[in-house]
Symmetry: D2
Subunit: 394 residues, 4 copies
């Protein structure tokens, strides 16, 4: 690869562009994880995370990737052979199901075409039929990073309520937390899973469980073997400001800065910014004459747009051209979408001109790859951004 | 706490003082963990780690603390109810046993007084008696961070060989790797567990398993549920330079720098430096008239010295005084040593004058706490350092 | 100002976007400026700078802004009352003349309209007429940052040669060095002045004089008072790798990294990249129907485009709108161009998508300010970039 | 040189150990030096600097080393041929005189033995005799970095007052500001010169003039040629928050952090800390049986101790041994003290254990060099520190 001048455009749907403030916060000497300064840090972090999860409950922090937090949600609440209801609505939903199966759970996966989110009607139907309450948990990925589809969680919650089913609702918010409105308490979620490397703008390496009271209750009877992921140890140590094992101190320094940044901007402003930029990105896709994987406008993701390439055009070739010519990384099609879609991340530490540069890169890349485009997506996006100025921009 | 000028002395036995080079390496934009630059990084890291573990076998990297790597070693090789032989030779050895019990293994713990390492004779006896080979694994902590005792692994290996027992030998090297000579292959270790935050000089957040051929074979039949820690996925993805889930990219940048630094200094030089500085620290302890927890000179740790305070003197009070007056963190007594010992970390990115400052702080702290000392430990240490100059220092 | 997410676009014509590599290189402990490590650093820097100035002569480094290096060029070579020939071809050219006048020189300034560079014919005429060789020096700004005009130095040199005039040729390359081809030796320049914060991609704080043999000779007789700027002390100390006063050590660490980056990319590639991106920017300006300050295509700058706003449109209002709405800084019109032009910096650590984002911001800003544009400049620039891929991009 | 593990001990009397907070503050993208964010920065910095100089007057900031600020003080207030009174009380005092001579001033240098500061009685005598007020300025170095002697400025001021002489009092505080109590207003100083790299804990590259009303008045009539150093331009631009030329933006970010740190600790606490640590260092020197250059205990410097080696012992050899064996840089003897003294910097971001490590290094170095020492200086220093705990340390 030739020498690259200028900044790389990291427009995969996470890990996202880490702000300098956060990188610099991480770049300081490690401190004693059993000392008084650390205890204050822990308490501040947990308080801040609760605001981001919109919960007054418990939040635990793992030194792990998001997949670890999937496993944690399961092993803390369930017992070998427990039946759980999952949905094949994307690559990560499918993977979470696989984790559940590996841990010894009986996973029932509702098939899907990956172009729609979890259907609340199906949830209601499945749970209503389950008179014996054999489903112990329902797994939903809030925002499918592989497809750019955001499931309608409030409706899913209502469906569960209508079915009067006691299954725990477990939700993966890895690519929505801190970017798309998410309400752990209001939506009656029992365990929320998340990670550091998307809306929280951190490097990967931290993951989270937000824990509702029913999940905590369930954890007392849960029989799956667990140690690293055990909530009980974690919560007991956290109480005093510490961790049962060495935490990822420097990433926690970064988390403190990330929480401060989200607070400075304000969560509603953060969500509105993502909505506005995502809408502009979708205008570009539409202008190009390309199709989103997300088939239902109510479910279009505000953090990632997965875009089908025309029949016969290898999406990975386009991505390679864009990487080589324009030094921009886009997300690949995953699983059954491999080679058929590219994904544009538009989340985290992001603004109008970063999006503009990104869309220019995609547009030039499509041309370079010989993909015919209907009209300039860049122009469509700029028109939208111009007509819809960011609030407070003047 | 009053304003603190100057550098904090972080002399707990890990996390250790992270070199600026490593902090700065971590402080750079995250890259696409599925792109070509990343694949090269992965391959370089694994090659470098093999040199540090002194193995030609396999090494896997987890985004987790060292405790995760304990769990990984167990769940990849064992099945529910498997019997394992462990030793109560320190806080971390005891904790690893607890992890094993939690994961559903039948742990037999040989009691100990925490002042000696694992006794090769006991290993031989236990294994020789076990004609049916019911012990599937033997767990040993190479260097007990809580006690400053280094078990004599080559002799333990010989004991197992004499007993002709097929149990897997699993070794925790969290506080020895990269500081005290450790030879995965030569010593016939089946799984080595380690972490990033001690001899590797990184912040916490990465852990490792070095995997021997017998362990790999065992993993094929092992039945404990596993997903996050699964070697099979990890090894398969690593082959292509990737990870089955998002790795802790920025810590991996730091790891690359750490491996480069160890290589620049040279492992034998690293070990000799730790030996020399540890000897000086022990001279100080002896001069003060205090006693090491480690009772056998063959087992004194070159990375940490755990020191008994005189009867009736609260070690934590001394540590608090030292923290408040001299801005230095020392390690606390853990478990049954709580309040009875303080621990001096002398490992990682460390040199003569850092040790000298450390010992001055301990000596002044002992005085401030009213602990009578026999003679100046500082002077004894300086005398040793002066009489034994570092090779190549001129 | 509202909270700003994402990266600021710093598109003033310098200081330019400092690469992370350089910021990180600066971010390390200061070292002894009289020690052996420092001596090596000094020697490496001077060797590297010579390559960038394309000279086999002498280069000195000042801890100062570029204006200091202007003063240095003058006080080292001239005596009170010496007559010098200067040209009013832009804000910085005018300022350099003012510095000369303040230092007690008799400056003759040839008037200009700031839309063209120094006219070689005028140089020839002026010098030819000066039979008594009263002009001791000719001052030229290679690339006028205020106007985006690059004077044709080889032709100016030829004009001086034809006039057989011994005046020293002094050239300011603050906004061309490391971006636009510049040849101190080949073009017979006597003193080249430059700074750190443009093509060298560093923060401001370092400046340079490249010194030809005639200038060095002149310095022996020069009578202007000088101390801080004295070449003689500087050269004597540099010989041993040191400085006559404390140098700006950490910025020098950054300079080492900058020189390494320029070498990795290759100077010809650096120049070609700037040419290509500048051409794209000019295509955008033309498409918008706006006019460049630079009136002669042979003199269009490859580092900065100064653009007239339509009659009656306050350029600073446009800049303010762009800063507030799109978090991008553009250069203001300076001196007599104040309020009439905005300047787009397209130099330093810069690439296609950064330029694309920049131009999108300008285009949206023009619209937001109600400036009618003829056509999409973004589209014109993207078309150019697409049709003229960067060499080695595939 | 062999690989060096651990931190270098930078114990020259400046540049000092830059705190991580300051390095990290410098390590961020440069901003537009003509934008609104910058204007706020400038105003904050000047307000903060006034507190440090203890003045309600004017302070200007140069992108230059401290030597530049010497020149600035002179060229802004004096005219060619003006007579000034200076004192040969150390290397830097001598150098400042040389600068004055080079700038065309008539410098009268009172000889001295470099073991004492400026003698107030001599000042009074010289000025009293000068009935025609031919001396236009008196130059004093507050703390001579080369000798570790702090002149008694309040007494010098009183001497000038008694002589009723209107000469401007110009004081170099490069190695005292932010470490030793210094009062620009109260002591009636007309121009104070300082730099960034000592008590302000920054890397080198910034210098300062604090300007009293009489100096400002003098600047209106001063005739020495000046441009880069001109107060008038600087003050005019500063008024609006800007600079007449590109400032060293990133170092200014560091300055903001440094000022915040000094404020957090509190100036009186900063001075007391330096006093306490310096006293401990002097106890060590005395115990070793070595002699300070500073002959008068009223003038011992709290930032640097210059120590004579015994007759016939090359101080530079000791320094070299200490650098090679213990990776610590000490200051060399300068000028006529070359080879006869080594200098220990104990200023800036500094604390008990850093001093302890430093003194251990010196003590071992003396031994390694075969210098006989009377008793352990380390022990003497530790005893002092123990008996005189830092206030607020408990």
């Amino acid at each position: 690869m030739a020498y690259r001048s200028g900044r790389h455009f990291l427009q995969i749907p996470g890990p996202t562009n880490v702000p300098d403030r956060i990188l610099r916060a991480i770049d300081r000497p490690t401190i004693d994880h059993r000392g008084p300064e650390f205890a204050q840090l822990t308490r501040d972090l947990i308080a801040g995370l609760k605001e981001v999860f919109q919960t007054s409950g418990l939040v635990v922090i793992y030194p792990s990737s998001g997949s670890g937090a999937w496993e944690a949600a399961l092993v803390n609440t369930l017992s070998p052979g427990d039946r759980i209801l999952a949905f094949d609505h994307g690559f990560f939903a499918a993977n979470w199901s696989k984790v559940a199966a590996r841990m010894g759970l009986a996973v029932e996966v509702v098939p899907g075409d990956w172009r729609r989110g979890v259907d609340p009607a199906v949830v209601e139907e499945k749970l209503s039929r389950d008179r014996e309450h054999r489903y112990k948990a329902v797994l939903v990925v809030h925002n499918e990073t592989s497809t750019g589809v955001t499931s309608r969680l409030p409706e899913i919650r209502e469906a569960m309520d209508r079915a009067r089913h006691p299954a725990l609702l477990m939700v993966d918010t890895v690519s929505s937390l801190g970017s798309i409105d998410y309400r752990h308490d209001e939506w009656g979620v029992d365990v929320t899973v998340s990670g550091s490397q998307k809306g929280l703008m951190l490097p990967p390496g931290l993951s989270f469980n937000a824990i509702g009271p029913r999940a905590l209750e369930a954890s007392k009877a849960a029989k799956l073997p667990r140690s690293y992921w055990s909530w009980d140890d974690m919560l007991e140590f956290n109480e005093a400001g510490f961790f049962p094992y060495t935490p990822a101190t420097n990433l926690l320094f970064g988390l403190r800065e990330a929480l401060a940044m989200l607070k400075e901007e304000g969560l509603p402003q953060v969500f509105a910014r993502h909505r506005r930029l995502a809408t502009a990105a979708r205008r570009a896709v539409a202008a190009w004459g390309l199709e989103l994987v997300s088939a239902d406008p109510r479910e279009h993701s505000d953090t990632v747009s997965a875009v089908f390439t025309p029949e016969g055009v290898d999406a990975d070739r386009i991505r390679r051209i864009i990487l080589e010519r324009f030094d921009m990384s886009l997300g690949a099609g995953l699983g059954k979408l491999k080679g058929k879609v590219f994904r544009i991340g538009h989340l985290g530490h992001f603004n109008d001109l970063m999006l503009a540069g990104t869309l220019c890169g995609v547009e030039m890349g499509l041309k370079a790859a010989g993909v015919p485009i209907a009209a300039s997506g860049v122009q469509a996006a700029l028109d939208f951004l111009s007509s819809n100025p960011a609030p407070g921009a003047d």
